[in-house]
Structures are given as structure tokens and as C-alpha cells.
């Protein structure tokens, strides 16, 4: 008969405790895996500018967090961590494949001159802003309120709403586009 032995790997012990509700063990687990993830990102993502490496590390940590329920205690934890890290690095490459990275600092002056009016900033009236946001679905509305009105960080909002950064960015972009269209019609 097969018995379920307690895991020997320190990461597995920490994640087991974390999944049972031990927040401190979870923090220790995330701190323990972060340097390894950083190494993976540095090795596999050499073609990314160094300032993007930490963003990918955070994306991997968020991936581990959102999918921590998929680890089974009777399976080794390291292949699980590495698989998620690899997936997120590939995801970063995929996203970069459709976009060109240019340091935003180089374009600050032009952006200020070219920037389109923000559909929300053009409206001083709080009720008017809320009326516009009311056209969005509840999730998109919360993202717009958090990121655009309360100026919370996207990573922070992603954690709270249990969304990946990519998903959050897309939802925010679509919501702002919809708001701009509605605001344009109203004028």
C-alpha cells in the first residue's frame, strides 16, 4: 500500500504549510523561490532589457500565487515551479513578439504634446465620471476606478482582483477605449 510521506524538499514543506493557510510559510516560500526565478529569467530572458527582468519575476510570482492550488503535495514542487517560470518567460517573449520595447523616457516630450484627452480627466464632475463608468461591466469598472482614479499600481490591482498583469492591461485598455467611445458620442 502506498503511503503519503511528508515532503522532504524545504520548498514543498513551506508550500504545503502555505496551502494550509500559513501566511508566514507562504512568504518564506516566495522569498526562497525568488532568487531562483530571477536566475531563470536572467538566463532565459537575456534578450530582454535588464529593467524588464524584475517585471517578469513578478509575473512569475503572481503566476505561482494564482495557480498555487494546482500543486499536489504528492508531486515534487521544483518541476512545478520551473514549469510556471518557463511558461511565464515564454509568455513574456510572446507578448514582446507583438510589441516593440522603447524606453518611454525617450518620448516624454512628444507624448505630452500628442496625448489624446483622457475620457475621465476631461470630466470634473464626479457624477458624470461615475455615469460613464457605469456603462462598464463591474470588473472593468473596478479596474478603471483603481488604476485611473485612485492611481493604484497595476500589479497591486492584479493581486487584489486575482488577474494576471497581461489580462489586467488588456481589460483596462478595452475599458478605456469603450469609455472614450461613449464620451465621444455624448459630446
Amino acid at each position: 500500500m502506498q503511503t503519503e510521506d511528508p515532503p522532504q524538499d524545504p520548498w514543498a514543506k513551506l508550500l504545503l504549510a502555505a496551502n494550509a493557510g500559513d501566511g508566514q510559510a507562504y512568504a518564506r516560500f516566495l522569498h526562497a523561490v525568488t532568487p531562483v526565478i530571477r536566475g531563470i529569467v536572467r538566463a532565459r530572458g537575456r534578450s530582454f532589457p535588464p529593467d524588464q527582468h524584475e517585471d517578469i519575476v513578478q509575473d512569475v510570482l503572481l503566476g505561482l500565487h494564482l495557480k498555487r492550488h494546482t500543486w499536489r503535495p504528492d508531486h515534487p514542487v521544483r518541476p512545478w515551479v520551473y514549469a510556471i517560470a518557463r511558461y511565464k518567460v515564454i509568455d513574456a517573449f510572446r507578448r514582446r513578439g507583438t510589441s516593440i520595447h522603447l524606453p518611454i523616457e525617450d518620448f516624454t516630450d512628444d507624448l505630452e504634446a500628442l496625448a489624446e484627452p483622457d475620457p475621465l480627466s476631461a470630466r470634473d464632475d464626479k457624477r458624470e465620471v461615475e455615469r460613464l463608468i457605469g456603462h462598464l461591466d463591474p470588473r472593468s469598472a473596478e479596474i478603471v476606478r483603481a488604476v485611473e482614479l485612485r492611481e493604484e499600481g497595476q500589479a497591486e490591482v492584479g493581486v487584489r482582483l486575482q488577474m494576471t498583469p497581461a489580462n489586467l492591461r488588456v481589460t483596462l485598455h478595452r475599458a478605456m477605449k469603450k469609455l472614450a467611445a461613449i464620451a465621444g458620442k455624448g459630446e
Binding site: G21, L61, T70, R72, Y82, A83
Partner: protein
Amino acid sequence: MQTDDLIARLSASPAATPINPAQMTVLMAAAILIPLALFLGLFGTRHDLALAWTNPVVPFKTFLPLVVCLVSAALVLRLARPEAASGRMPLLYILPGGIALALWIGSFILRAPEARFAEVNPISLAECVGIILCLSIIPTIAALRVLRQGASTSPALSALLAGLMAASGAATGYSLFCTRDNPLFFVTWYGVAILFVTLMARHFGRRTLSW
């Protein structure tokens, strides 16, 4: 946000409920079986089912898609874990695929030219392909939703397998109603319907399963 701040926020979150493969299996099976039960309850099985099954070719019409459905279900559940790989499991498709091909070729050789595609007409095609497509919609959507609980690192492959599982499950149930026993008909047109659902599921489900 600094990485340490992110870790602090993440570790303050409540514990996650572990993934339950048995529950996922039950949900996906129910999504296939309930529409099939409604369909067969409403229209019934073919009236001569027992007699038809005395012909050794006819049971293959049910068992081939059933095997494909079961293999796909096992594979898609396995791939829901990020570290899992499909391994040698896809080799299991060789058996139903090989039998289907042998039935098609054998039937083509043995039948008189005018009898080969005699059952093919717009009504029979619309019925066969249309019913399999309709019966596949709910299980495909349900399977994709259930699989979002997992963490497939091959979302396109998982979505494709979800469609293959749903459509072959639908074809299994439909085969109990269908009276066209010519392998040239059922291998071809069940295959077309299953392939269509599979490709659609891959196309539309890939993003659903990305995370």
C-alpha cells in the same frame, strides 16, 4: 511595486483550495451526458439498435468516438497541471484512428461504386454534422471553464483536446440515434464534425486557458 511588497501582499491572501481532478472529471462528464440524455430522451435511440449491433461494424460507430473521448479527457486533465507532459498517451489515438481508417478503406473496396456514398445527401449531412455540432457546444464551453481551474502550460493544446473530448463524446451519444451504418459515411462525417469542433475549440479556447 517592489518584489518584496508584492510578496507581502501575496502572502496575506487567504489559502487556496486545492484543485480537485475528480470534481473536474464529474463536471466535464455531466456537461457531455446531460445534453445527450436530453437528446436521446426526446428523440430516442434508433428503433433497431439491438439488431443493428449484431452487425460487427456498427458498434465501432459508438466505441471509436468513445475511446477518443476517454483518451482526450485523461490527457486534458493531465495537462491541467503545469509540470505535466502528455508523454506517450497520444499514442492511444493510434488504435481508434487505425480502426477508423481500416473500416473506411475496407468499406470503400468492398462496396459497389454506386453504394459507396449513396447515403450522402444534404439532409443526412445536416442531421449528422448539425446534431453533433449542437451537442458539442455545451460540453466544450463547460470543459473550457472547468479547465481554467488548472494551469495548462499548453493552452492551445488543452483547448484542442477539450473540443476533441466534447465532440467525440457527443458523437458517441448521437451514434445510438443514427441509422447510417456505412463506415464511409460515419467515419467521414463524424470525423468532419469532430474535427470542426476541435479546431474551433482550439481557436476560441486558447485565450480562455491562458493565464
